[in-house]
Point group: C2
Chain length 205, copies 2
Amino acid sequence: MSPQGRPASVPEDGLTTRQRRNRPVLAVHTGDGKGKSTAAFGLALRGWHQGWRIAVFQFVKSARWRIGEQVALERLGRLHAETGEGGPVEWHTMGSGWSWSRRPGTPDDHAEAAAEGWAEIRRRLAAERHDLLVLDEFTYPMQWGWVDVGEVVETLRSRPGVQHVVVTGRRADPRLVAAADLVTEMTKVKHPMDDGQKGQRGIEW
Amino acid sequence: MSPQGRPASVPEDGLTTRQRRNRPVLAVHTGDGKGKSTAAFGLALRGWHQGWRIAVFQFVKSARWRIGEQVALERLGRLHAETGEGGPVEWHTMGSGWSWSRRPGTPDDHAEAAAEGWAEIRRRLAAERHDLLVLDEFTYPMQWGWVDVGEVVETLRSRPGVQHVVVTGRRADPRLVAAADLVTEMTKVKHPMDDGQKGQRGIEW
């Protein structure tokens, strides 16, 4: 309920609390339940308020159902540009062709598009371009072999500076879980779909 | 991954898909893991984009650690007032004394403050004042007997119109779970606190 809680134990890493607090976090939101991506976007709200440079990378072909979060977060990003409030926000979707890519549309090959996305993220991590990176649904390209899991995990583990990364999606690879600082599993206890109900406007998409 | 999925079965409730889609949702985010509240605030982002009238009620004494989400969502609410974009946002915290209450400060008695908060929420539900209500950490007043669980559940179950409600907090009462349309349990798989690390700025608070 409160972040003021005492740590379970005191680490012997020679770090001060401040140093520990400023350590970059690799978080994973996995499991079959809802809220994995939504919680990541909620974290972006906190980051925006702190002036973090935020970037969302959506590894899904059709990302229309995230439009609400995208519009709202990008609007906050525009506010930063206009008034200096909060921080900048970038939102890149594979489905519409990565925003930084000059080529119109997206590669026919999803694997190619995913690999292209990861290559760009790797370049940005090396350049410490963002303070919070949300790799939305990135577990799927990892699972499907579209990117090299070992290389992804090593790149994330050895990223420079203080760059927080949140990876979302089902069936997170054990190597990613092992490398993560914070792993939360969202489990479906009950869902309208069970009763044959379609997605709720706003709740589902 | 996609909301276009076929329902597991077709309900025999005589409702059209549109009617079903517009049915109000009672969602519960529970479990010991992170992301319960953050996912609820992420839902508010989607709702904002759809022009929903959003209200967050925080049932915590000291709510400072939610300030990032509050500032960002309230900023989006101001944008609505200024430009008509999205929807209005209200954020009420028990910790600072409920915003609608004339009395300065918060009642000394937390139970009284919580009951006062619930009474106001009940009035607003009856008046259909909001489209999305986030009852943050509300499971605790329920658990501690500060509000009558049976009455809360019945009030939520019988709320009029199309008012989406999200209740967050650990150890959700079985009656609340039974009444909910959507229940997600956030389970902690791994957490920096385990290593004695204090909350990460932005990630934890």
